[in-house]
């Protein structure tokens, strides 16, 4: 568990963070999201003390990072930077092994470990182990960056806008990879991004920052449905515009009057994607929304109307 206690960071003529209090649970994929200059990266870097806060404490599993040996604690924290930041003078294998070498692992132990991790991120060790970073695409380089962070099997991985420089396809692939790895591994991930789509996709929970102040903390859906203030609502406005809620389905004229025995009640502001996810596990489920009930066929019909709308747009 990571605990930020009243973290304040002041620079000569600005305050980057103002008394941030935040708790992140173990094994959580927690996203810090906000526009640039909001202080999210600064907050992330207080964890491995690349930034030393002016006031406040950061506790990892109850231990203040200011009191632990810096080099040792960093050796047990994975770190993924923007644009991979691989050392251009080293091969993929050497890059990935930096933390293991710092930990004093023997060469014979390092090699199979890195090869295993390269496979985990879908890079063939035979093809990639001896390449130099200059011979990798942006997405491949960032996969190696992830391997480097995973190498020492850390309990905590910090990711600082790792995919911001990637093309949309690579970005989506790597987001899937992170979700997969998070499921497989027993690791807390603290992920910084300015991309709200990315935040919504990845986060178990997220914290929204703006001007060094915490705006809202919660699960994606909560933040979308109940934005705490105008800034949060505005920040996610674009996403909201493309969201289809059950309210919209009802407004389009779908749904039947309630009958007895319909099973599950969900909020009208729920997105149709969440509804689709629920239907996936139980295709025959009938959900109750306000005074109406909706079936799987209603979802399909609603989606079909969207198709018609698109056509009309074209015509």
């Amino acid at each position: 568990m990571i605990e930020f206690k009243a973290i304040t960071k002041e620079y000569a003529n600005e305050t980057a963070l103002q008394a941030i209090n935040l708790k992140i649970d173990s094994r959580e994929l927690f996203v810090l999201v906000g526009p640039s200059g909001s202080g999210k990266t600064t907050l992330l870097k207080t964890v491995n003390r690349l930034v030393v806060p002016t006031k406040g404490q950061v506790l990892i599993d109850g231990a203040d990072v200011a009191d632990t040996d810096l080099q040792t604690s960093r050796q047990h924290i994975g770190y993924v930077l923007q644009s991979s930041a691989l050392f251009p003078n080293m091969t993929v294998m050497q890059n990935a092994a930096v933390q293991l070498e710092a930990l004093g692992w023997s060469k014979t132990k390092i090699k199979p470990r890195i090869e295993h991790l390269l496979q985990l991120v879908d890079l063939d060790p035979k093809l990639y182990a001896d390449r130099k970073p200059a011979e990798l695409s942006g997405g491949e380089a960032q996969r190696v960056g992830i391997v480097r962070a995973l190498a020492a099997d850390p309990k905590l991985i910090l990711m600082d806008e790792p995919f911001s420089a990637l093309d949309p396809v690579s970005k989506r692939q790597l987001q899937n990879l992170i979700l997969k790895l998070h499921q497989q591994l027993d690791t807390t991930i603290l992920f910084v991004t300015h991309d709200m789509q990315e935040a919504l996709r990845l986060a178990d929970r997220m914290a929204v920052l703006h001007n060094g102040q915490l705006q809202q903390v919660g699960a994606s859906q909560t933040i979308l449905e109940q934005p705490a203030n105008a800034f949060v609502a505005d920040f996610f406005k674009e996403v909201m515009a493309t969201q289809h809620t059950l309210n919209q389905v009802l407004a389009a004229g779908f749904g039947q009057p309630l009958t007895q025995g319909s099973s599950q009640t969900i909020a009208p502001s729920t997105s149709i994607y969440t509804w689709a996810a629920i239907l996936k596990t139980d295709p025959h489920l009938v959900v109750q929304v306000g005074t109406k009930q909706l079936k799987a066929s209603d979802l399909i019909s609603y989606l079909a109307t969207l198709q018609k709308e698109d056509r009309q747009d074209v015509e």
Partner: protein
């Protein structure tokens, strides 16, 4: 020109190779020292920007000091020879190596440094595996600039007895020997290019191998030097040095032959082309050399302080100089040889015949002659101004020109009369006529061996050997010998020995 150069190179191949070796040795040691100083300094200061900038400023200031001035400043502290040369070269080369290393280390992408820090690597690992390898291209280009600079500047080492290719450049300039000049210049340029190319190759080499390679070289070099020092027998060695040029080289070879003829067990080392007068005189005072040939005129004009006017009688001038040296410097000037290597006036054979010119006084009747003089001669009181008074000379047209060019100008008919050094081989080469100084106006310049009095007392046998050429070798003989060495490119040692043998001095 090309043929002359090739001929000169063939005739002097051994000496040229030795000079090349010296040049490489000096440059290599200077480069190693520069690297050992500049790179760790840059590493130590990379996180102290202010100190780093300060060192950079100091190094830049050192670079603005002319290299000759640095050499001059160093002589009182470290004497002459290769040591001050290497120190001066290192002082020069530190700037580019330090600057590039510092810039290379401080301009690494901060994201990479952040990554290294975040991985929790040790400072040593970060330095050796990240910072230095990433700065390596900059460091190597700094070393390349430094090495090229060192090889070029090392030619100045010749001025202070450091040897090397500069010997040939200076020799070429002083005796108008284009072959020597070309060889010195071409070889040092080629050396710089090759070194630069080798370092470029190193840029692609493995860092670890590079380090091991350099370390091995240093160990082998150091070991060889140590063994060489230990193996060299500690018998008495007499070091004889000579100034730049062919004539001093002939003389010191004669000294060696004379000493060895009387005592074959004495070890005699010759240091030819050792530099200018003041370097040799200081080296003698500091006991770095034992003997060098000096001129009575030079002693009186520039080495000792005299209260009386300088005598124009050769014998008196010798006694004046000898006494002053003994009193002021505890030095002994042995009796001089016969020849005069002083100023003279010269015309072509044709002019001499046409106007029946025999003495300088005969020139007074020909104010229409076009004269060309060495700039010093034109100004000094023992040159043209004094001559005008003593002989009542006056020329309507007087040009000053580079001394090495005046003989050729005379031979080509561009001039009618010039000043001359009496033993210059060009006099023979162009068949020029030296006019007699019937009024003994020019101060005498007679060559004789100069040494510390303590050395003379400890080596009476050496003094006796050297005295055998006192009063020998006429001005014409010396001209002839100089001609053989500097124009015909015969070896000075051969020329010297042949002369001594044919005159029954050996």
């Amino acid at each position: 020109m090309l043929n002359e150069t090739i001929h000169y190179a063939q005739a002097n191949s051994h000496e040229i190779l030795v000079a090349l070796g010296q040049h490489i040795e000096v440059a290599f040691i200077a480069t190693l020292l520069t690297i050992i100083i500049a790179i760790p300094l840059a590493v130590a200061l990379m996180n102290h920007r202010q100190a780093g900038e300060f060192v950079l400023q100091v190094a830049s200031v050192i670079q603005t000091i002319p290299s000759l001035a640095i050499l001059g400043l160093l002589i009182p502290f470290v004497g002459i020879g290769t040591v001050p040369a290497i120190i001066a070269l290192v002082l020069y080369a530190i700037m580019p190596v330090f600057q590039n290393t510092y810039a290379g280390l401080t301009n690494i992408d901060p994201l990479l440094i952040e990554a290294a820090d975040a991985m929790g690597v040790s400072r040593r690992y970060k330095l050796m595996r990240v910072q230095i390898p990433l700065a390596m291209p900059m460091i190597l280009s700094g070393i390349r600039i430094g090495v090229v600079m060192i090889i070029g500047t090392a030619t100045l080492a010749a001025l202070i007895g450091g040897g090397g290719l500069g010997t040939y450049i200076l020799l070429g300039i002083q005796s108008n020997n284009n072959a020597a000049l070309l060889i010195g210049a071409l070889l040092s340029a080629a050396l710089a290019l090759i070194a630069s190319w080798l370092i470029k190759l190193l840029a692609h080499a493995n860092f670890k191998k590079l380090f091991i390679g350099v370390a091995t070289l240093v160990i082998i070099g150091g070991g060889a030097f140590g063994i060489h020092t230990l193996m060299t027998p500690k018998t008495e060695t007499i070091t004889i040095a000579g100034k730049m040029g062919g004539e001093p080289e002939i003389l010191i070879n004669m000294y060696k032959d004379l000493i060895k003829a009387d005592d074959p067990h004495i070890n005699v080392t010759l240091k030819r082309n050792f530099g200018g007068t003041s370097f040799l005189f200081k080296a003698l005072k500091a006991k770095q050399i034992d003997i060098y040939p000096e001129f009575t005129g030079t002693v009186l004009q520039s080495l000792v302080k005299t209260t009386q006017p300088i005598s124009h009688d050769p014998t008196q001038a010798y006694h004046q100089g000898e006494t002053a040296l003994s009193q002021q410097f505890n030095m002994t000037l042995l009796r001089p040889m016969a020849y005069q290597n002083g100023y003279g006036m010269t015309v072509t054979q044709q002019t001499a015949d046409k106007y029946h010119l025999k003495t300088i006084a005969d020139l007074a009747k020909h104010p229409e002659f076009r004269a060309g003089f060495d700039p010093d001669f034109y100004q000094q009181s023992d040159g043209y101004p004094g001559l005008k008074q003593a002989y009542g000379l006056h020329f309507n047209s007087v040009k000053t020109m580079e001394p090495s060019l005046r003989y050729q100008a005379l031979a080509q008919g561009d001039l009618d009369v010039t000043d001359a050094y009496t033993t210059d081989p060009q006099i023979k080469k162009y068949h020029l006529v030296l006019l007699q100084d019937s009024k003994s106006f020019f101060p005498p310049y007679q060559g004789s061996p100069l040494m510390l009095t303590s050395f003379a007392k400890a080596h009476p046998q050496v003094v006796k050997s050297l005295n055998r050429i006192a009063g020998k070798i006429s001005t014409q003989d010396m001209q002839q010998l100089n001609y053989q060495v500097t124009v015909q490119h015969q070896k000075a040692s051969v020329v010297a020995k042949r002369y001594l043998q044919s005159h029954h001095l050996l």
